[in-house]
């Protein structure tokens, strides 16, 4: 009996011809997608299709985490509670001080006739899926256009800047991490106030670019967003300098930094939605 795969006489096109046809189609897809962004509809189709599946598939690990938490020892929880209470008391003092400072700041700004900083609105989101990060590092969040997200918004976690919203679908969105190659973040050195440009290098590291050789910078310095690009609000912690070395060939320092935010750890993040900037000129 002949198996369906083995034809006695060739009918239709041979595999090589079919390969070439499909290669041409694939090339067409790649060109239309990367040059003209003509396939965003297909992308949202896939996202509609896969969104519920991803939420369901997240359940097993959630259950595992839940079970793990269930067996945490009682004493451990009590200890944690005590530390949290102490920390809360300490933070409340800071909040009061910050409130006072904000009032004072607003007054000074109005005295100096500076533009007031835009208000912030936040959207809580959780990491839904993480793809292979070979070409750019991305995570997928479980909030999208319906929650008011749009392309370009900054994403932070409790410690620092995580990245920037890229593609937005109705119920999910992709975030390009700050450590992604070619992702630029305008920063300033907290200790000296000097501004610079942090670029992702892949492999979970950042690189501070174009720092002249005589710059005052040393390992341990913190980098904050400078707010100069009107994308990221000023003052979000970004990274800590880990290594400074002088390159033999170029006029600039080689500065390596480690992102502060848990780029590959934190599950829960915040998306900052700034009010549209009013230019008064």
């Amino acid at each position: 009996m002949a198996t369906p795969g083995q034809l006695m006489f060739a009918r239709g096109l041979g595999p090589t011809a079919r390969l070439l046809i499909w290669l041409l189609i694939g090339l067409g897809f790649a060109v239309f997608d990367s040059r003209y962004h003509a396939l965003d509809g297909l992308r949202s189709g896939f996202s509609l299709l896969l969104q519920p599946v991803r939420e369901i598939m997240r359940a097993p690990s959630d259950v595992a985490a839940e079970l793990g938490g269930f067996f945490t020892r009682h004493r451990l929880l009590q200890k944690e509670r005590d530390t949290l209470l102490a920390e809360r008391a300490r933070l409340m003092v800071n909040v009061n001080a910050a409130r006072e400072l904000r009032r004072e700041n607003a007054e000074l700004r109005s005295l100096l006739q500076l533009q007031t900083r835009p208000g912030q609105q936040v959207v809580h989101a959780a990491q839904l899926y993480r793809g292979h990060d070979w070409f750019s590092q991305r995570i997928t969040l479980d909030q999208g256009g319906r929650a008011g997200l749009r392309s370009g918004l900054p994403v932070v976690d409790a410690v620092g800047l995580v990245g920037q919203v890229g593609r937005v679908y109705p119920a999910s969105s992709e975030v390009t991490l700050i450590s992604s190659p070619e992702q630029l973040t305008p920063v300033l050195i907290e200790r000296t106030g000097q501004r610079g440009l942090a670029a992702g290098s892949g492999q979970n590291l950042l690189e501070l670019r174009y720092m002249p050789a005589q710059t005052d910078i040393r390992p341990g310095d913190r980098l904050l967003t400078s707010g100069i690009d009107r994308v990221y609000p000023a003052g979000i912690p970004v990274a800590r300098v880990t290594r400074v070395s002088r390159s033999q060939s170029g006029p600039y320092l080689r500065v390596e930094c480690m992102p502060l935010a848990g780029l590959d750890r934190s599950r829960a993040v915040l998306v900052l939605i700034a009010e549209p900037q009013v230019t008064t000129q």
Partner: protein, 166 residues
């Protein structure tokens, strides 16, 4: 040679296994598991191309490749082109591959899977960025092991030993 075409290879099996492969890729993988994660969908497609070439071939590979492109947030066509080339290589070597026991089959699949991944790398390089390191070749190992496990499991299921007796 009596291939077990009659027992397995119905549409139900094919669709079920491919759906399972897509589902497995939706799990929130992270860390080392993500770096080594076998390409379930690619292994599924190549497996069925080997055993049911009349049913699964270029079109399925292309569509699932587009899905994989969406998953990685890559340019459309990157995985699709690579999967199609993988299917071609399997069709080209099909009669040869069918003669081997699972271990040798997996060993022969390794260069094919490697070739597919290199095409992904090349297209991504041309279309987007240079890749960050060669860590992207790690899933090839995972996929090869997965192939060995699947092929071996099916052999045992059909009551044959894991190795060919000379």
């Amino acid at each position: 040679m009596n291939t077990p075409t009659q027992q397995f290879g119905s549409w139900r099996h094919i669709l079920g296994s491919l759906t399972l492969a897509v589902l497995l890729e939706q799990l929130p993988w992270a860390g080392w598991a993500l770096a080594l994660r076998p390409d379930f969908v690619l292994v599924g497609v190549l497996f069925w191309t080997l055993h049911q070439p009349a049913r699964i071939g270029f079109a399925t590979a292309f569509f699932l490749g587009l899905l994989a492109d969406f998953q990685d947030g890559a340019v459309f066509g990157q995985h699709a082109i690579a999967y199609v080339i993988g299917v071609y290589l399997v069709l080209f070597l099909r009669l040869r591959l069918l003669q081997f026991d699972p271990f040798r089959q997996a060993a022969q699949l390794f260069p094919i899977l490697l070739g597919v991944q290199l095409v992904v790398l090349l297209v991504g390089w041309l279309a987007v960025n240079p890749p960050a390191g060669l860590a992207m070749l790690l899933p090839v190992l995972g996929s090869t092991v997965l192939w060995y496990l699947v092929a071996g499991f099916l052999r045992l299921l059909h009551g044959k030993g894991l190795q060919d007796r000379a």
